[in-house]
Amino acid sequence: MGQLLTRQTQHVGIIIAVAAALAAAAATGACRSEPPPASTAPVATRSGAPAVPRGGTLVASIRTEPRSFNRLVGRDSSTELVSSLTQAKLVRINKMTQEVEPWLAESWTRSPDGLRYTLKLRSGVVFSDGQPLTSADVVFAFDAVYDEKAGSSLADSLQAGGKRLNVVAADPQTVVITFPAPFAAGLRLLDNLPILPRHKLDAALKAGTFANAWGLSTPPSEIVGLGPFVLTEYLPGQHLILNRNPRYFRKAADGTDLPYLDRITIEIIPDQNAETLRLEAGQIDMMTSEIAPEAYAPIKRAADQGRVRLFDLGVALNPDSLWFNLKPGAFGADPRAAWLQRDELRRAVSLAVDRKAFADTVFLGAGVPVYGPITEANRTWYWAGIPQPSADLDGAKQVLATIGLSDRDGDGMLEDGNGRPARFTLLTQKGRPSVERGSNVIRDELKKIGLVVDVVTLDATALIERIGTVNYEAIYFNALMSDTDPALNPDFWFSRGSAHFWNMAQKAPATDWERRIDELMTRQIASLDEAERKRLFDEVQKIFAEYLPAIYFVAPRVYVAASSRVTNLTPAVSRPQLLWSPDTVAVTP
């Protein structure tokens, strides 16, 4: 019953969204309506469960401290988590359906040219300190995110075609958002932006100190929001306590107040082993990240004993990737420049690595081969036609021979035309098993075709510094994409982008295929025809698979677990898998 109720709310949400979009976009016919959410996990409470229990405390864990209570400043996952618990957005992307839902905005219309959205705010919504939400707060949030001095890291993600949105308060309950250019993903990008209390933060913005506002030393009572919980205590290095926000706007379908929980305690547990042990021992209810492959077995045992529930959420959205430094001239006079940046090298690497062996060693078999950045977890945008060549050592060697790498002295390893060994350094992050182990497998696999790889592990900061200063030969790392819709990841796809790692922030596309991807993506982002967008993006993925600027090997299966006292869960494949919808989670007393 409980589960049914929340499912209904979700349906109602989707129906409103779809209806609004239909009404608005009839002219362009740009409405994408997905079937209702497919269940990805064995949610036990779904059939005939009793009413959702109210009250109680949920204990979750994070590995690192949040950097700020100001989501506009902090980019880390802990900041994001606290923000998602304490703040609310205009619209929400339902992580299970990957679709947009009305949230603070209860409905919207779109102008016939698709550029202007008129959003109607829910009435009677108040911040946790009792101040009512008005359109001024929405305008304020945009002002803050675009403020030069604030330098928000979210500013880039709230742009369409490299330009800002124009936001105007039409009346206290209505906001008009105008896109600078046709933008297919539309309101999806609003999922990034928490609506902040103008009455608390306006002074800081005016004074130019917004970037310092709501730092970790702020008294919790000052952190006011529209989310289901309010921060009540923060002990650095120990825990955060969030109490139920009695003024939270959302109601369950039966009209009762949300959230169900009285309190969420977030313990800061730096060590992953300790985190797993505490989950097993029942001292925490859930982790906010997925279970590492090596921790699967003990959690499984606890699940078999009925102490925790284990969810298999399917294939991950963001696989780790290997890329070479493709910035022209990056290797200067280094003779290896002749082959390190060649497309053939990357094709040979992709061809040489046995993805099955990779999955076995790195993810204990719980992974699927991938050949591009978009995995099948991305239901809308995955291109099923992507070529999936099987590992072929001889083929890889032949490809390398075309760029002058062959075994010239009979030692089994490859040399270039001048007899210098074919050898490069692969940097990866220390202390992150999936990339550390992945790099080692890549090293072993490439040795089979005669390439010598020196794997060097660095701490995250040193690694990021080297990526930023373009001081590396090759890197194996994981870069998260912010959303499933490619229109919201322009920094990755466009050659000018800051997450176009292999050759960042290009003034003009360095290669012909990057120019083609730029063109296709420009059209893809602007098009309001979903079928057209899909076709264009398939084309992008095809070019990507051909030139392999980043090479993908295996995407792991995502497992999460929660203690069996937690009910009403709606696990989704992206982080935080179990807490993305915190207002409907409940615990049995």
Binding site: N273, T276, L277, P293, E294, A295, Y296, A297, P298, K300, A357, D360, T361, L364, G365, A366, T425, L427, K430, G431, R437, N440, R443, D444, D454, V455, V456, T457, L458, D459, A462
Partner: protein, 341 residues
């Protein structure tokens, strides 16, 4: 007697390290893909039917990959092959049923072989570094204790400085200025120096205290009065008094160095992955599953223990002696004093 046992343990360890290429059934970096975290293959001499055979093993078959559970395939005996392919012993069917005396690690590599190869790095590094630390520490401590005054202050404060300096940052900074890929010999040298310098202050403090107090003893003043040179007095009479202390410190430093090598490789200054060392093997085993399911991954800790025990027995033999046994240190003093008288 205990000293002989200790010596024997150390000799075995050193022989194992030197003879690794022959004694180890596999290369240190050879991984068996289907045998990640496989348990040890116990050599048997008696089959299930009670018949006797030459030593053989059973093959492990994977029952559950994600949980890494294995079962012995008792249907076929895999005999051991002695002295084949330049190795002392292997299984007759290396491809399917490799001999894993102490089990396999998380990459499916033979833990026993890696321990033998790892002994070269770990023992070599720890012994060289411990020797260096002893030399530096004794010299500094001895000088500080003997000369006293401003020299004493200067040396001891310098060693305080070394102890409190965040070593992690020194290493991070070093990592930044050194080339990314270092030859193993360079890494060895670098780590030896770092460890020796970091370990020396601990020895220096103790040696200083002992020298300082011995200096005032009658025999020392007497030797001095008889015209024994400063250096001679220090080296022949005072430093030997610190022998016992240094011996204990060595048994503390050697395991600490073996383990610290893994810590340094955390910031990227250790030996790179396929090379085995006891420290990195233990570091890799530092997870919950090792205790619960794969205890053989902790084998390097047992190896470290044996080496430390051996060292302890050799260096601290007299500890076991009762009141009627005079330690060499103590015996030395009256004798030499008499000599000078």
């Amino acid at each position: 007697m205990t000293r002989v046992v200790g010596l024997a343990v150390l000799v075995v360890a050193i022989v194992a390290a030197l003879g690794a290429p022959v004694l180890a059934p596999h290369a240190g970096d050879q991984s068996f893909r289907g045998l990640l975290n496989a348990p040890p293959t116990r050599p048997h001499v008696r089959g299930d039917d009670g018949t006797w055979h030459r030593p053989f093993i059973y093959r492990w078959t994977l029952v559950n990959q994600l949980e890494q559970r294995y079962e012995e395939d008792r249907s076929a005996r895999v005999p051991l092959a002695w002295l084949s392919g330049g190795r002392l012993v292997q299984s007759a069917d290396e491809g399917r049923a490799p001999l894993l005396l102490v089990g396999a690690d998380s990459y499916g590599r033979d833990v026993f072989s890696r321990m033998l190869f790892g002994a070269r790095i770990s023992l070599g590094l720890a012994l060289v570094a411990a020797l260096g630390a002893t030399l530096i520490g004794s010299a500094v401590g001895g000088m500080a204790g003997y000369v006293g005054g401003a020299t004493d202050d200067l040396l001891m404060r310098a060693s305080d400085f070394l102890i409190v300096l965040p070593a992690m940052y020194v290493v991070l900074a070093l990592r930044a200025v050194l080339p990314l890929v270092l030859a193993p010999s360079t890494v060895f040298l670098l780590l030896s120096v770092i460890f020796a310098v970091v370990g020396a202050p601990f020895i220096a403090r103790g040696v200083r205290a002992i020298v300082r107090s011995e200096r005032t003893l009658d025999y020392a003043s007497a030797a001095s009065a008889l015209g024994a040179g400063h250096l001679r007095l220090l080296a022949r009479h005072l430093l030997p008094a610190a022998r016992g202390f240094v011996a204990v410190e060595l048994t503390l430093l050697v395991p600490a160095f073996i383990v610290a090598e893994a810590t340094l490789s955390y910031v990227g200054l250790g030996f790179p992955d396929p090379m085995a060392s006891w420290g990195t093997m233990l570091h890799d085993a530092s997870n919950v599953r090792a205790f619960a399911d794969f205890p053989w991954l902790l084998a390097p800790a047992a190896a470290i223990f044996l080496v430390v025990l051996g060292l302890n027995l050799v260096l601290q033999g007299p500890v076991q002696a009762g009141p009627n046994f005079r330690t060499p240190t103590v015996r030395l003093k009256p004798d030499t004093t008499r000599e000078h008288l």
